[in-house]
Amino acid sequence: MSPAPWNITRLVVDAPVADTTMAARAKAALPLAQQIILAPDTPLPAGPDHGRTLHIKAHKGRFLRPCPATRNYRCCGYQIIHIGENCPMDCSYCILRAYFRDRTLTAFANTGAMFEELGRAFGRDRTRTFRVGTGQFADSLALEPITGHTRELLGFLAAYPNVILELKSKTADLTWMEADPHPDRVLPAWSLNAPAIVAAEERDTAPLEARLAAAKTCAAAGFRVCLHFDPICRYPGWETGYGAIADMIFDYLKPRDIAYLSMGSFRCLPELPGRLLAEGRALPAYMLGEFTLGQDGKKRLLRPLRVEQFRFLSDRLARHGFSRGLYFCMESDEVWREVFGHTTRSLGGLSAHLLDVACNRGG
């Protein structure tokens, strides 16, 4: 008997969404999980002794929201479609550790309400192009085999050619392709990191080779992919590690297959290291860097050290012929200037630039 996906041993479905397609799919996908229908106003039971809970519920707030960026650093203007919360993978650097109190996975099943809201937003001005994604508060595809959320969303978005959906993941799941979306409207995206970081700090994620192989499959199907080096960690031997993964990308992809590629230095809420220690985990070496408190209240590596890593990686990527879609996630004008010699202003704004590289296959 195959083990439960992501070790989900309990499926809790809120009564108001118990009859939804997503709930039915989840029940079918998790036949061995304890299944609970939760009456309204009943608190979620404490987590199971073994495994974790998937909670299928209705989301009561806004589904479409801007990335929670800070104004002190340059944001890419990504808009989030809020499909769920938390991630079944376990990365030591993950910001979700700070966002969520426990490890319960949540998927929002009231897709009718979501599509109604999205339809209003996307249909208001169909000449305006939206770049949206689902990978901010959850991995876009981790629960896809269970919930079918993305396939449902892609079905809805087929009517909105002005929307480009980025699917950001550390899995190699491609079941979303069954929805047969137009290749220009979907940007499958993968987080990448140095092999040593993936091995030591990313539990339960797909191997780098599997991620890149999935990206290659997408490219072969006509999709352009996005790659994200976030977080870039500084650890002894980082040059070798990031050099290796930068080279490895081009074993699988051609520069023109990549719409854009982001670089973000490791940053965290100051309490993250304490949380790791409280979980009984040793602090990874990369968390012992020379950090300073950034203007967004997060700890980030001292600027010259970040710049050194960014320069290294951008030079390596440029050697393989990729530079146009390279950008920083949440960096200052100073860093943009130091590494690229210009700021986002000369690109017409980062959001507009990324929309351009996403829509136009300029290479």
């Binding site: 002894p236 070496a285 012992l288 020379e290 300073t292 408190l293 950034g294 203007q295 980030r300 001292l302 600027r303 010259p304 050290l305 200052s332 100073e334 130091e338």
Partner: protein
């Protein structure tokens, strides 16, 4: 628990030594007894009578009737003070007699008996070591002592070895005394040499720790350290609060740290910072903290004849440099350029952006008079034209590789 726990501390009567009619007033003003007069003349009720006491505390019987019955059976001895071992390990808090005690014994005689345990051989002094030591100095005076048999000592703990019961008796005789962190550890060392650590906390704990006292946890961690470290507590170079920090160090790290620990006085906070920096820097460099420390600036600093404050600041700065080479390099470069830009005695202060994140400098001027502002304005104008200013503004850009 033995009968010793029946004693309880009572605030003593406030008789001042300066009231002495024999012209000793000035002498007492300079003595410890003047600041702590209750140490000088105290009274302990024994039976129906009132006997002056030269013990460190005023003790009162909780159950006078029960103790009177006991006292009726106690044998009183007069011993030559040199016949007693006043440095026995169970007298773990003993200290040399001070001038007040010497004066008191000289003028008033021994007002409180010591406690000895009779054995087949020499009697064992269980309490009263300072009195015995003082009487040795005064010469020609016997030590008055109450004698009990080993079975009578701490009779509620008959199964404990004599060493443990002697230790408990000694603690009981010192109840109410101000106990320092070093004394707690000394007691711990004594008892853990006689019995288990659990027994130490169970039997001796009530004498020295309040219920739930965090000191007990700290003492337990300190006892994990080599006994040589106890001198750091005695000298006040390291507080007991640092027990966990030091106990978590590997043996070679601790050995390498000892010269630093004895060189300056540490607070828990500063020691915590220094140890964290050292261990993290060593981990990042892939070497042992001891090896990193050996090749740092710290040994050379300790060898220089610096004032304690300068030495402490130097050690902290050196270890911070080890842990944060890039940050401290930027800070040093900023300080150097600032000095080039501003004349000595300037009222202008320059600060970098937070964490050197932005290419900005904050300029702060404090003035009390218009003339000072005019002077500062002239300095600012000169600074704006100085070639060092652009370098200061972009100090985090094109930073040199940290050493």
């Amino acid at each position: 628990m033995g009968r010793f726990c029946l004693y309880r501390y009572r605030k003593p009567p406030g008789r001042r030594p300066g009231d002495d009619p024999n012209g000793e007033k000035e002498r007492f003003r300079k003595s410890e007894a003047f600041s702590r007069p209750w140490l000088f003349l105290q009274f302990r009720h024994i039976g129906a009578g009132v006997t002056p006491c030269q013990d460190d505390n005023t003790l009162q019987y909780q159950n006078r009737r029960e103790n009177r019955k006991h006292i009726d059976t106690v044998q009183q001895l007069f011993l030559h003070p040199r016949d007693l071992d006043i440095d026995a390990p169970h007298l773990f808090w003993t200290s040399p007699p001070d001038t007040v005690l010497l004066w008191s014994l000289d003028r008033l005689g021994q007002t409180t008996p010591a406690l000895v345990v009779t054995t087949d051989g020499r009697p064992i002094l269980a309490a009263g070591s300072r009195r015995a030591a003082a009487l040795r100095e005064l010469r020609g005076r016997p030590l008055a002592a109450m004698a009990v048999t080993p079975d009578e000592l701490a009779e509620n703990d008959p199964d404990q070895p004599l060493g443990v019961r002697l230790g408990l008796a000694y603690l009981a005789s010192n109840l109410g005394r101000t106990v320092t962190e070093a004394m707690l550890v000394a007691a711990g060392r004594y008892f853990t040499a006689q019995t288990t650590r659990e027994d130490f906390f169970a039997l001796a704990g009530p004498y020295v720790f309040a219920p739930g006292d965090r000191l007990a946890r700290l003492v337990a961690r300190w006892l994990d350290l080599p006994p040589a470290c106890d001198a750091l507590l005695v000298s006040g170079h390291v507080p007991l609060g640092a027990a966990e920090l030091l106990a978590d160090c590997a043996a070679d790290t601790l050995e390498a740290l000892l010269p630093l620990l004895t060189a300056v006085r540490w607070s828990r906070g500063s020691l915590g910072n220094v140890l964290t920096w050292l261990t993290e820097a060593a981990r990042l460099g892939g070497e042992r903290p001891a090896a990193l420390l050996a090749r740092s600036d710290v040994p050379a600093l300790c060898a220089r004849e610096l004032s304690p404050n300068d030495l402490a600041a130097g050690i902290v700065a050196a270890l911070r440099r080890l842990r944060y080479p890039a940050t401290t390099t930027l800070e040093a470069r900023f300080a150097t350029l600032s000095r080039q830009l501003l004349p000595g005695g300037s009222r202008i202060k320059l600060r970098p952006s937070q964490g050197f994140e932005a290419d900005t400098v904050t300029v702060e001027v404090t003035v009390r008079r218009p003339a000072e502002l005019a002077k500062a304005a002239a300095e600012l104008a000169a600074m704006a034209a100085a070639p060092a200013l652009p370098r200061l503004l972009t100090i985090a850009r094109d930073a040199e590789e940290p050493a």
